[in-house]
Amino acid sequence: MKNIYIFLYFFCVSIVAENFKPFESTYEPLPSTNTIFRNANIYDGEGNELIDTDLIIKDGKVVAMGVDLPSSADLIEVDASGKWITPGIIDIHSHMGVYPAPSVRTSSDGNEATSPVTAEVWAEHSIWVQDPQYALALKGGVTTFHVLPGSANLIGGRGVTAKNLQRNTINSMKFPDAPHSLKMACGENPKRVYGNRNQMPSTRMGNAAGYRKSWIKAESYLSKLDEYEAKSEEAKELSYKPTRDLELETLAGVLRDEILVHNHCYRADEMATMIEIAKEFNYKITAFHHAVEAYKIADLLAENNICAALWADWWGFKHEAYDMVQANIAIVDQARNGTGCAIVHSDDEIGIQHLNVEAAKALSAGIKAGYDISKARAINWITSNPAKAAGIYDKTGSLKVGKNADVVLWSKNPFSIYALAEKVYIDGAIAFDRSSGLEPSSDFDVGIINPSKNRIEE
């Protein structure tokens, strides 16, 4: 009798588990704006510069790119002569929604700083979808962003990749089929936060021990899970499924190569330590974030196929950010015969609106350092490279036929401070149009200063 109940219980659980996957993306693009851009200058995100070239986007996808493409009646014609087109910009390090504006205690939801390992929390469950910052980033050409938990913890929780098309639920903003990520953090932040409470970690060696202890637990959980899953259906019915553990599920997801590790880490020596730990437990680090000292180990990063997501020039706010080199991004890019993966990230609500200019500064510093880097290559730092690090490069990040039509039309060369995003398309649908005044505004913006106007309406 008892066995029957157990059977029924597992039967029901397995039905629920099979039919309902929580927190799946329900994103739907806006109606397509099928368009032919005429005579555009294009950086395609694959390292190419195409001058006076036409681009067709249709039904959400890049359909054709070339000279004198034939038009058809269903295409809106946009004269792009003298203007520039790039793939939609991707920010691999954003806290929009988890640290929204206004920056107030009640919606500051980025750091679950109550325990050094909180692999069980998901940034998407903190995101405030009415953050007015999404629309500002969109006007800077950002079509996709990756939100991470903060860096107070050794293991901070899962990150999420979203389309920059504000909706009323986070599920409807989530990038379809984008892998989850895991935020980890080295250095001063975790040891400060917990050291101040006389708790481990209070040192960098305490940090390292903390990661390793977690991975040991994760390995053990994973082997139980593997053992259970290897059983036949009959055997499964007669045994207990390992009890779900949200923390270890996330870590096991990393060990199974399903979840991408994004590791906040400034110092070169600590990054090398993290690479050792990753090898010890056989997981992959997708990217080091903030990595102010990446230039000191650029070859090591390239050899291990690890991206570095970097600022162009922010430094000095703490000791581990003291050795700033403006050519950092270029040095990472050029490591091992140009096989390095460099990303310009923002981690900042203003910086995200100007990633093109941040890339321009980094490029200029690289050229001054003696590297021969083209603008067509440097645009990868804010398009295809972050797409790779977010695990969505097969869908976006460059203008290739068949990929999502995430497109920015710039008034001038995007490496100029004077360039403004004129039109921004997400999945082939216009989301921002400077000339017509089409722009999103969140509920927060409505009537908040003057009841009959939106926040920044003039």
């Binding site: 003291y322 080199v325 003039e458």
Partner: protein, 424 residues
């Protein structure tokens, strides 16, 4: 280069003076934005003993040294009006910070903490900042703390102007009502207005004044606090108050008019809502043109178009940045302002002349005869952050543009056959 050396050798041989090497220079063929006119002009600048001696639009004045700036834009050295240069090395390390007081409040001066060897100074200089105003952190008092002006020449023989302004703050604080803050500022200014010269004759007499005032006693004023308040009313000392909300700006304007203050408003994220009043009342603003984030409920009107709107209304503008260390990014902010509609000449003035005028830095901030030669030669458009200075002259001296950052860079891209510790 060879030509210059030859010229120099010629001059040394033919001259009686031994001091000509750095004292007499002409920058020729420059496209000059002088910080005064909106448009640039072609000209040659003669510098004698660190001072701009002559600006010629026609013939090149004779000088011992010649620097040919053909095809290059030159501007006055930029002046950053809101920095912690020289008093902060690493933000999160309090032992490297000298921006806070524990005993003094209103009269706290950071002047003597200035470290000309800070690594921030060559870094900002190499990015075109030749001088700066360094401010303390806000004290517990809503107004108080004195800022000083420094030349960024990295000399231990510090060139500065001490205690040229006071700072303050007003707005939502989360601890007490802004109405109380306003009352407190009002009471402090009223106390300051009641002081006369006789009161200030000695610390002993100031102590008596403090004893007689319940406010001064309650706030535990020290004589140097009282002296600073006295200067605010009697010496027209500039008072920079950081505030954002439109209604708060109006309240400060009322205080300015009651006490005849030399008021400057910083932050001012809602200034575009009260632009006319700001202009009518002649209040210079220090704003960050790139900051369009409604970061608090005081800053809801924050808007990328604010700076151009304020310029059109006729406001005097200066620029700051939101974060420490890279104060040179005021030129990126200026570029963003121009991209969104500000005039180019207006943006250059905001980085130069407007700061000098507002803070009475009488011989700096513009390229004109008689001013100190703080001049930057730019490799391209100075408002493009990717363009860097080719030369930075401070007091006419061609300064070193090496930074710790460029040294570290070179260590990891040159002489790679050696272990990094034995590289330069």
């Amino acid at each position: 280069m060879i030509k210059n050396k030859f010229l120099l050798a010629f001059v040394i041989l033919s001259s009686n003076s031994l001091f000509l090497e750095s004292s007499n220079l002409v920058i020729k063929n420059a496209e000059i934005y002088d910080g005064i006119e909106n448009n640039s002009y072609q000209g040659h600048i003669l510098i004698n003993d660190g001072v701009i001696a002559k600006i010629s639009k026609t013939s090149v004045p004779y000088a011992d040294k010649v620097y040919d700036a053909k095809g290059k834009i030159i501007t006055p050295g930029f002046i950053a009006p809101d920095t912690q240069l020289g008093i902060l090395e690493i933000g999160a390390l309090s032992v490297t910070r000298d921006d806070e007081a524990s005993i003094y409040s209103i009269g706290f001066s950071i002047h003597d903490a200035f470290n000309p060897n800070s690594v921030l100074i060559p870094w900002n200089r190499a990015n075109g900042i030749t001088s700066a105003i360094t401010l303390p952190r806000n004290t517990s008092s809503p107004i108080g703390g004195l800022g000083s002006f420094f030349l960024l020449d990295s000399s231990l023989d510090i060139s500065s102007e001490a205690d040229i302004l006071m700072i303050g703050r007003f707005g939502g604080s989360g601890s007490s009502s802004r109405a109380e803050t306003l009352t407190l500022i009002d009471d402090m200014l009223s106390f300051a207005s009641s002081l006369d010269k006789k009161d200030m004759s000695s610390d002993a007499s100031i102590d008596e004044v403090i004893d007689d005032s319940s406010l001064a006693s309650h706030m535990d004023f020290k004589p140097r606090d009282v002296k600073a308040l006295y200067r605010l009313i009697n010496d027209d000392l500039p008072l920079i108050i950081k505030t954002h909300r439109a209604s708060d700006i109006i309240k400060l304007i009322e205080l300015k008019n009651t006490y005849n203050l030399n008021l400057i408003i910083m932050g001012a994220q809602e200034a575009s809502l009260v632009a006319d009043k700001i202009v009518e009342n002649n209040i210079p603003l220090i704003v960050n043109p790139i900051n369009n984030i409604p970061n608090s409920f005081d800053e809801l009107a924050s808007n990328i178009n604010m700076t151009p709107i304020l310029e059109k209304a006729g406001a005097t503008l200066m620029f700051n940045v939101s974060r420490s260390h890279n104060y040179h990014l005021i030129r990126q902010g200026a570029g963003v302002a121009v991209a969104n509609g500000m005039s180019y000449g207006g943006a250059i003035k905001a980085l130069t002349t407007n700061v000098a005028k507002t803070f009475n830095l009488n011989n700096r901030g513009s390229i004109k005869v008689g001013n100190m030669a703080d001049i930057v030669v730019w490799e391209a458009d100075p408002l493009e952050p990717s363009s860097m200075p080719e030369k930075v002259f401070i007091n006419g001296v061609d300064t070193d543009l090496t930074t710790r950052s460029t040294r570290l860079r070179d260590r990891y891209i040159k002489d790679l056959d050696k272990p990094s510790i034995y590289r330069k």
